[in-house]
């Protein structure tokens, strides 16, 4: 029984770029429903508008056309309550220690001091940073800093968590382990997760449902359901279905990636341009 939490209807975004300003159709039209509690992932070629889609849902930028609703209420360029975001770039505040970083958003809630420190303590335990409460971000590794940002998002108890390539800057092993942690947090919090990634295996391993985004202007061209059990971790990559799902994603994504290359170097054979750039093939 799925309950709709987010609905995007015919959403598109046009930026005005350059001098003189010229319209750049970045995204859409996109129709998308997210169900409460599901783990949803989006893969797409770079520069296709994935992050724009996330910023639209987060209320960081208003859509040019169409409507976005979160829990039935429209979002129009204003961050709604109940949504948390973890960005790819390190967003920890270097002048605050880990506990103060995590408590950063709580001040607005006017909680009693006891409850506030209780919530910080719990969430630090959840992400495995209990021993680092008084450390400063500069003393932590990149993976730990990203966990600080995840903890800072979780402590607000969001009903929808948006993640924009949160593990993009981490090495492969750390990425897989962080994926396990993310699955565990998703189960424990019951929140809906919306994950943007360029790693096909990451999307396949983590998500209930995966959408492939096209080359710019980004549209959702394929939806894949993984049908994994809720109790799962990175060992799901051994599952016979894993390869089939990843292959299906890659089939669509490959075409769109080639289109993206063609967009950036017109007049060349996309496959050649791709190879001559020495771009690494996606896993």
């Amino acid at each position: 029984m799925s309950v709709e939490q987010v609905r995007l209807a015919q959403v598109s975004k046009v930026f005005s770029v350059g001098r003189p300003p010229a319209p750049l159709h970045a995204l859409g039209p996109v129709d998308l429903e997210l169900n409460r509690g599901e783990f949803f992932a989006i893969v797409g070629p770079s520069g296709c508008g994935k992050s724009t889609l996330l910023e639209l849902i987060a209320g960081l930028t208003p859509p040019t056309e169409g409507t976005i609703a979160f829990e039935g209420k429209p979002i129009a360029g204003e961050a709604p309550d109940g949504i948390g975001v973890v960005f790819q770039d390190d967003a920890s505040l270097p002048w605050l220690n880990v506990a103060d970083n995590v408590a950063f958003g709580l001040r607005r809630l006017d909680l009693p001091a006891v409850e506030r420190s209780e919530r910080v303590r719990n969430v630090l335990k959840l992400v495995g940073l209990s021993d680092f409460a008084t450390s400063y971000p500069a003393q932590l590794s990149g993976g730990m800093r990203q966990r600080v940002c995840i903890a800072r998002t979780l402590v607000m108890q969001p009903r929808l968590i948006l993640l924009d390539e949160p593990f993009g800057a981490l090495d492969q092993q750390t990425r897989l382990l962080m994926g396990d942690e993310l699955l565990r947090l998703w189960r424990q919090t019951g929140a809906t997760v919306f994950l943007i990634t360029h790693a096909l295996d990451e999307a396949t391993m983590l998500a209930d449902r995966i959408a492939v985004m096209s080359a710019r202007p980004g549209r959702l061209v394929d939806f894949v359901e993984t049908r994994w059990p809720r109790e799962r971790d990175s060992r799901i990559i051994e599952h016979p279905e894993f390869g089939a799902i990843t292959a299906r994603l890659w089939k669509t994504l490959r075409e769109e990636s080639l289109k993206t290359i063609a967009q950036s170097s017109p007049g060349t054979d996309p496959a050649l341009a791709y190879a001559s750039r020495g771009a690494e093939p996606a896993p």
């Binding site: 390190d90 967003a91 505040l93 002048w95 607005r108 400063y136 500069a138 607000m156």
Partner: protein, 252 residues
């Protein structure tokens, strides 16, 4: 690190010893300069007698007033200009050439308008310091990572809270640079204008002692200014160092 400290101490000690020898042997005559140990003795006597307390208090309080004005107005103007692109672009040439203009040239005009009180000196010191503060605040705000501003919006912080809790703290290392400059400029502004024309203050007393060949007053006052500015700068540098080490921008 410790070796550097030894070298530096040796250089300073060597210069002082050389001066001491030159003064005591008469290579530098008494009318020109006193031996360093006499400067320190006279400074001690002067502070104990309290005869310069009025001048010291006047200079320090004027400097503090000018400094506080430069810091608060500099940060606020910097933050406003950062948001107000058109005004910033308009004022940009002014900031770029500001320190090419000797602000002291306006001092006689200020005296004509505001009289020979503390106000013209405070104004000169403020004018010298405020632009360093504005420019460094802008510089720091330009370098705030956009992801921190986005985080503030996700956390639904008001514009004021975003400035106070995110962008200004993020810009703090650059703002501290502005503070260091503003402190130096405030001292230069106040003491410099006391030299030119005033009715009191350390600069006035040095200038008065100089014209009356009173080396027993002039040199101790110079030493006092040196000690004060070095001490203030040391405190600010420590603060800056702590800030940078905490952010991993410098080794401890």
């Amino acid at each position: 690190m410790t070796r550097l400290v030894v070298y530096r101490t040796l250089v300073i000690g060597g210069i002082l010893a050389l001066l001491e020898v030159l003064c005591l042997t008469g290579a530098i005559d008494k009318i020109t300069m006193q031996a360093p140990h006499l400067m320190v003795r006279d400074l001690f006597r002067m502070l104990v007698s309290g005869r310069m307390n009025g001048a010291i208090v006047k200079t320090l309080s004027n400097t503090v007033v000018a400094l506080l004005l430069a810091l608060s107005i500099g940060i606020v103007v910097g933050a406003v200009l950062h948001r107000w692109r058109a005004l910033r672009d308009t004022l940009d040439p002014l900031f770029a050439t500001y320190y090419a203009v000797p602000v002291f040239a306006f001092y006689p005009f200020f005296i004509v308008v505001f009289g020979l009180g503390d106000l013209p000196q405070i104004l000169i010191a403020f004018m010298l310091g405020v632009v360093a503060m504005i420019v460094n605040t802008l510089n720091g705000l330009d370098r705030v990572p956009p992801v921190l501003v986005k985080t503030a919006r996700i956390m639904r912080l008001s514009q004021l809270d975003t400035a106070l809790r995110v962008t200004l703290p993020a810009a703090a290392p650059h703002i501290v640079t502005g503070v260091k400059l503003a402190v130096a400029y405030a001292f230069i502004g106040v003491i410099g204008s006391e030299f030119i024309m005033s009715r009191g203050g350390i600069g006035y007393e040095i200038s008065f002692a100089y014209t009356s060949f009173d080396n027993a007053t002039m040199y101790p006052l110079i030493v006092l200014i040196l000690l004060a500015s070095v001490a203030i700068n040391a405190v600010l540098s420590r603060w800056e160092q702590r800030l940078l080490v905490r952010r991993g921008m410098r080794q401890s």
